[in-house]
Amino acid sequence: SQTIHQWPATLVQPVGSPLSLECTVEGTSNPNLYWYRQAAGRGLQLLFYSVGIGQISSEVPQNLSASRPQDRQFILSSKKLLLSDSGFYLCAWIEWGGADSPLHFGNGTRLTVT
């Protein structure tokens, strides 16, 4: 069966520090991968998605970046965090080509920038 792992679960970082959040999917090949951010009291904002290794689409211009070094690995990064980067970050995947497939989410990373 397919599983998605996301870590760390919680993170407290000072303003200006770097960030690296990792997500891996097991049990499937060539999935579409997604990073969402959920801010307090707001819905889910799509940050990045990837349809293959090295292919990244950015939905929102900001100081965050994403990379997909391996088929089932998706990394969210920042060189210098801002206070506004605080939030709940969710990784998700769907089967490649699965127009009718639902998103499957990881358990999220709670990021607090101080």
Binding site: Y36, G43, D100, L103, H104, G106, N107, G108
Partner: protein, 114 residues
Amino acid sequence: AQSVTQLDSQVPVFEEAPVELRCNYSSSVSVYLFWYVQYPNQGLQLLLKYLSGSTLVESINGFEAEFNKSQTSFHLRKPSVHISDTAEYFCAVSDLRDFNKFYFGSGTKLNVKP
């Protein structure tokens, strides 16, 4: 781009009462529709989905949603709620013209009181 509107940010309801969580989406073109549930500090879990066929879809825990194309709505209902249904519920749309993207509403917090 699609937009998804969840009109109620919070819905308080007493246990065993019926509930309806409203969802409207913007486009009249073919879409797939989903409801997700999120418990505190967890990722989102798929509750139910509409792809085609019968406009009424059901989940295993008593929720149902009805697709109304003319009103571009996909409201979620349950005839009798339980304390354990307390969570945040998100409506989502997948646009068949660009199924790589999922658009989410801002969420509705369902608070079931004893």
